[in-house]
């Protein structure tokens, strides 16, 4: 084991991917100089023919990566800004995601898209403070949101090996965290949740940046309520079984996610719990999400719309026995 920062596992993931797959290249904005710190030393090691600084032409370079994928490459696109998917929705959704089905399996798009500083980096205002995965999930794109360095490294190895487009979100609030990571090679398959804390009374499903907050609340509330924290890690495919199994044990569920409430990820998970574990439930399924409000620049308004420990605590208390 070694103590690694989340971002160092990202650097490792990129290096491994370029080593392991001859047909992989990385493209994005300002990645040769590693503006986000994630693509450090890649040019020195692999050369500019595999590490591309694109012009600010997002729709264009998404389409270009997809075309290269249709021709057998395994591209990685790194975003500089967490809302960049909005610039490229047509290429992502109408093309990358639909091509396999539209061609009756004649083509694969093994494209990995990475989103550093996803969510709320702080003071970045409305246009740079989103976690756009609910809309992408709704449109069928495989999505991974690792909350720890260990999960990041293991999940990335699976994501880059996928023969479909996969989006990997690296939440801003956890990207600076450190944790023990095994030195030996391991992978975490997509679609496998992790029980981050075992408990008996209430299941809290926590996604991405909310995992540390939920664990903190669980620790604080430990004397009064025993909380089980389930981190799905992958949102599509979703490990429904692990979530249901936990809820069947506890009979109570809160879903926490730092994205918008309406048609959000938490709504989807809460609906599946209500549908499939209804007869085990002793309380309504609760959600803590972002408010359906754009993120403001000023700190008090910014904090008001995103999930916080106080609100998570309130939701847990509302369902706890």
């Amino acid at each position: 084991m070694s103590n690694q920062s989340y971002i160092s596992t990202i650097i490792q993931s990129y290096h491994e991917s370029l080593e392991d797959y001859d047909d992989t290249f990385i493209i994005g904005e300002d990645i040769q100089h590693a503006l986000m710190g994630t693509t450090r030393d890649l040019v020195d090691e692999f050369g500019k023919e595999r590490v591309w600084d694109a012009p600010i032409s997002e729709q264009g370079f998404h389409g270009l990566a997809i075309g290269a994928a249709m021709d057998g490459k395994r591209p990685i696109i790194e975003y500089q800004i967490n809302t960049m998917a909005y610039m490229a929705m047509d290429q992502l959704v109408n093309n990358a995601q639909k091509l396999r089905h539209m061609t009756y399996g004649q083509v694969s798009i093994p494209l990995t898209i990475t989103v550093p500083q996803a969510g709320t980096p702080g003071g970045s205002a409305a246009q740079h403070s989103d976690n756009p995965y609910p809309s992408l999930l709704n449109l069928g794109i495989k999505t991974v949101v690792p909350s720890t360095p260990y999960d990041q490294l293991g999940l990335f190895r699976s994501a880059v090996a996928e023969d479909d487009p996969v989006m990997v979100f690296w939440p801003a609030p956890v990207i600076g965290n450190r944790a023990e990571v095994p030195d030996e090679h391991y992978t975490i398959p997509l679609g496998e949740a992790d029980i981050k804390r075992e408990g008996e009374d209430v299941t809290v499903v926590a996604i991405g940046e909310t995992v540390p907050d939920v664990l903190s609340v669980a620790e604080t509330l430990a004397p009064e309520v025993s909380i089980e924290v389930v981190d799905p890690r992958t949102l599509l495919p979703l490990d429904e079984e692990a979530i249901l199994e936990s809820v069947e044990k506890t009979g109570r569920a809160v879903v926490v996610d730092a994205t918008n409430r309406t048609c959000g990820t938490a709504g989807e998970i809460a609906s599946r719990i209500s549908d499939k574990a209804f007869w085990y439930l002793d309380a309504p399924v609760k959600r803590v999400t972002r408010a359906d409000v754009p993120v403001s620049y000023s700190p008090p308004e910014e904090q008001f719309v995103i999930p916080d420990e106080e609100t998570i605590t309130e939701a847990i208390r509302d369902v706890a026995p």
């Binding site: 300002d30 702080g122 970045s124 620049y297 008001f304």
Partner: protein
């Protein structure tokens, strides 16, 4: 060319006799205001008073000032993530700009927007924008609306060398041309899109050459010479107003600081440009220093007069910083206000719990 008197000083000296001294004073003062605003913002950022990233306009002052002074109050501008200079030059209140940067209730956007979203619609400032190229169609849209109304307003669309590669910018130029929209596309080529040199990102010799593809006039000028910017944009605006034909002006300029305030820490060990390059632009082509030298050499103003302007501007920005710091933050629970035009429905917009 001596080090004290770069070539650009002589070029500016030659043009000064065509100007009324009051206009020259405004040009000088406004450039100083932008520069001092940015120094103040940089200091506040270093002091932890600014919640988010800021993108400083230092080095590019002549473009905003030359262009804005060529516009009428009703004319529209649309700006970029590096928009403090444009907003200030178009007449926005300096106190409210600074308060916006600090995220306060008294800011131009009441703390909602910060560095990248300042607006003042009463002054035709249609906003800075955090998405590269996104404001370009907004400028054209204002021109479209102006044409529908049959008035004679002109829009100026500020964008950078980076944005010149965005599809939406090309789409907008095409529409502006086929529909005869009164918009001046003003490309501030400051040489770098974040760390990426325009030499590695832009096809062709000059961005202005792209105007040919859209059947517009295109021109590249020295964006460090405030007189050249003023004269060019004044002529461009006049012609556009008369003919309703769009055009493209590329101003060659240079940003002295990093792309944004966090860059100095992020890229400390891996610079993308040489210090000597920055120094050379500062020494030979600084828009304020060269203009100042030209004004003094031609006896338009004495050194003392300009020193007094500098001192006045410095004091003005100290007041602005004080205003910003002493203003209140908005309360957090105000966040949902103005999400929609009408919010009287139950739990609308939805709360987080």
């Amino acid at each position: 060319m001596s080090q004290d008197y770069p070539e650009q000083v002589q070029t500016q000296q030659a043009g000064l006799s065509n100007y009324d001294s009051e206009l020259l004073r405004r040009m000088y003062r406004m450039m100083r205001e932008i520069r001092e605003f940015e120094y103040t913002a940089d200091d506040l950022s270093d002091a932890g008073e600014i919640p988010g990233p800021i993108h400083l306009y230092l080095g590019q002052e002549a473009v905003a000032v030359g262009a804005s002074l060529a516009l009428g109050e009703d004319d529209v501008i649309a700006s970029t993530h590096r928009g403090h200079g444009h907003v200030l030059a178009k007449g926005a209140d300096i106190d409210r700009m600074m308060a916006e940067l600090v995220g306060k209730e008294t800011g131009l956007n009441r703390g909602r927007g910060g560095s990248m979203h300042m607006v003042d619609f009463s002054l035709g400032i249609f906003g800075c924008n955090a998405i590269v190229g996104a404001s370009v169609p907004h400028a054209a849209g204002a021109a479209f609306s102006s044409k529908m109304d049959g008035d004679d307003r002109v829009s100026v669309s500020f964008f950078g060398d980076g944005a010149s590669n965005q599809g939406v910018v090309h789409e907008t130029m095409n529409m502006a041309s086929i529909w005869d929209l009164p918009v001046v596309f003003l490309c501030e080529n400051n040489q770098y899109g974040v760390s990426t040199s325009q030499e590695d990102a832009v096809a062709g010799e000059q961005i202005s050459e792209r105007a040919d593809s859209y059947d517009m006039d295109g021109k590249t000028i020295n964006g460090q010479n405030v007189l050249e910017v003023y004269e060019t944009i004044q002529e461009a605006v006049k012609t556009t107003r008369e003919t309703s034909r769009p055009r493209l002006v590329e101003c060659k300029t240079y940003r002295y600081k990093g792309h944004f305030s966090g860059e100095k820490d992020l890229l400390r060990d891996r610079p993308y440009r040489a210090e000597e390059e920055i120094e050379e632009w500062r020494r030979e082509r600084d828009p304020i220093d060269t203009f100042r030298k030209a004004l003094i050499k031609e006896d338009v103003f004495t050194e003392e007069t300009l020193d007094q302007i500098d001192a006045d501007v410095k004091a003005r920005l100290e007041d602005a910083a004080e205003f910003a710091l002493e203003s209140e933050y908005p309360s957090g629970d105000r966040a949902p206000e103005y999400t929609y035009s009408e919010q009287s429905y139950p739990n609308f917009p939805a709360e987080k719990y």
